[in-house]
């Protein structure tokens, strides 16, 4: 079966709340995702402007499996192009970040400028009248493929599809509101990166952050210290397509509330010896303390108390992906705030007191699901639809994701 055949697949249920387990492991489905999702009409996160502040600065990253370079040119503009030499396909930029005047492919030394234009081909006219490129070879026809770029309050997005709608329309009014709550135009301060290799399908990561149901059960740390809990004021919101979502919550107390008897993970006597770890200060105008936003297809924006991060999803085959974490604060943070953010970063990342649970459970999910591609997952907590809700006992945002995903992938739904 090929990727094209994969497109003829049908969704074996009338609802996006029943998800066939083959979406997590089928190599043809995965290949089709590379075309339709990551190289399709989507905006993909490729970094923060603060990572490339000066002309000539660049960073190398990935959209789906494709390597791309993000650059800043002399005029201050941000560009993004494929990190693939148009001669024979070599990945010409091999460092994560740096400053360059142009990029020279190591193989035959073709040179690309900071916009990806081809500007040099050694021996183009031949040597001593021999060889060389044909007369009709034109540099203009062979740039490193340029992507469309949009910079939104310091966050860089790129798309292979030059007809993709503007980012604001892509996200929808309400999701754009949440996005610009964190990215409100203030200068950002880069704190550092963490990289995590998680042995499961990339979609499980999107699901995980769209799933408030688990957060109240799996994470002892969140539940016990009231950082995210089903008995707190909370909301799940989606854009109309279902593609993007936010989970919104407010910090509560470390005390018993309704529903707590079902949360085996609540530990009333659990205390920190050094409480500085959890010393959040209010920094946004509203009362929300947690906002986790998922943006289709490759971005999670994390705000848990004062720890802010983007998490970029980089698929590495059907059974594996990289989660690339970028922790940041604001330019005008004082030293106390920087320290607070660095401390609270203990909750997140590959050693996070909260997120370790997720990485591990996602690995268990892949191991459990992979041998059973013909079975269905049941994601019907809170009903069948993907409407906004004002509680956490729902899988609506996951249903929204698969509603959108099945449409993008061209899967026909049985019985619909």
């Amino acid at each position: 079966m090929s990727a094209m055949d994969a497109a003829k697949r049908s969704w074996p249920a009338p609802s996006a709340g029943r998800v066939p387990l083959w979406v997590y492991s089928d190599p043809d489905v995965y290949a089709l995702e590379q075309e339709r999702v990551f190289a399709g009409p989507t905006w993909n996160y490729v970094g923060l402007e603060v990572e490339i502040p000066n002309p000539g600065d660049y960073r190398r990253t990935f959209i789906g499996e494709k390597s791309v370079v993000v650059t800043r040119t002399k005029d201050g503009a941000v560009h993004c192009f494929l990190n693939k030499c148009t001669h024979r396909g070599v990945e010409f930029c091999r460092t994560d970040c740096g400053n360059a005047r142009n990029f020279m492919c190591p193989y035959h030394q073709w040179v690309f400028d900071l916009k990806g234009n081809l500007i040099g081909v050694p021996f183009r006219k031949g040597v001593k009248g021999q060889g060389g490129m044909p007369e009709d070879f034109d540099f203009k026809d062979h740039p490193a493929r340029p992507l469309k770029v949009e910079v939104v309050n310091g966050v860089i997005f790129a798309s292979f599809d030059h007809d993709v709608p503007p980012f604001k329309d892509y996200l929808g009014e309400s999701m754009y509101h949440y996005f610009t709550r964190v990215f409100d135009g203030r200068g950002l301060r880069l704190l550092g990166h963490e990289r995590q290799d998680i042995p499961c399908n990339w979609k499980l990561m999107q699901e995980n952050i769209k799933d408030p149901y688990h957060a109240s059960l799996l994470h002892v740390f969140l539940v016990t210290f009231g950082l995210f809990r089903a008995d707190q004021k909370s909301e799940v919101k989606l854009d109309p397509s279902g593609a993007h979502a936010v989970l919104v919550s407010r910090k509560g107390e470390q005390k018993a509330g309704e529903g707590l008897e079902e949360m085996a993970s609540f530990k009333a006597d659990y205390a920190l010896k050094d409480p500085r770890l959890l010393d959040p200060v209010k920094e946004f105008p509203d009362a929300n303390t947690v906002i986790m936003q998922t943006i289709f297809p490759n971005l999670i924006v994390q705000q848990q108390s004062n720890t802010l991060a983007t998490r970029q999803i980089i698929p590495k085959g059907p059974n594996n992906f990289e989660l690339y974490w970028t922790f940041f604060g604001y330019e005008n943070d004082d030293e106390a705030m920087v320290t607070r953010r660095l401390r609270q970063a203990n909750l997140m990342g590959p050693a996070g007191l909260v997120s370790v649970d997720d990485g591990e459970v996602l690995e268990f999910t892949q191991n459990g699901a992979r041998p059973h591609p013909g079975d269905l997952a049941v994601m019907e907590m809170g009903g069948h639809d993907h409407a906004d809700t004002d509680h956490m006992v729902t899988e609506a945002a996951i249903r929204g994701f698969y509603e959108h995903y099945a449409r993008v992938m061209g899967f026909k739904r049985e019985g619909a």
Binding site: L190, L191, E194, K273, R343, P350, E360
Partner: protein, 154 residues
């Protein structure tokens, strides 16, 4: 010579304690006021302050242990630390700065043993109540792309 021997013994006992699973004894290797950080090499080289794990006191080390014993969910594993090339790189009145290399091997139930992390320790060591302890320990890892989770101390 004497110092080299004492430093090596501290390092070896530290990793042996971790590998034997005596996590409650991990904080004992540190002074009460201490810092422990696990830092990605690229962040360290670029002067970015983020750490994968950042403990600012012995109490915070205890909190880590409590979390990994009582709060976190993760698959069972064995870890084994190898330490080599310990060298005193700075001598001060009250402390020495020691650099050594480490490798951590990880054995999961259904996988052959793999190298999990490689890097170096940068340790500030002091005499505290008659024994050597770490007043600062930085674990700077080369393995930028971490195989899923760092559950136990490095």
């Amino acid at each position: 010579m004497e110092l080299q021997f004492e430093v090596e013994r501290l390092l070896y006992e530290y990793v042996q304690t971790l590998d034997d699973g005596h996590l409650e004894r991990w904080p004992v290797f540190f002074t009460e006021e201490c810092t422990y950080q696990v830092i990605a090499r690229d962040n360290f080289d670029r002067g970015l302050p983020l750490a994968l794990i950042r403990c600012e006191s012995r109490d915070m080390l205890h909190d880590r242990v409590t979390a990994l014993q009582q709060a976190n969910v993760y698959g069972p594993r064995y870890l084994r630390h190898l330490v080599s090339n310990p060298r005193v790189v700075e001598r001060h009145e009250e402390s020495v700065l020691v650099q050594s290399n480490f490798a951590v091997l990880r054995t999961m139930l259904d996988e052959p043993t793999k190298i999990f992390l490689a890097g170096r320790y940068l340790d500030r060591i002091v005499v505290d109540s008659g024994v050597l302890r770490f007043s600062e320990k930085r674990c700077i890892y080369d393995t930028l792309l971490i195989p899923n989770s760092v559950t136990y101390p490095v």
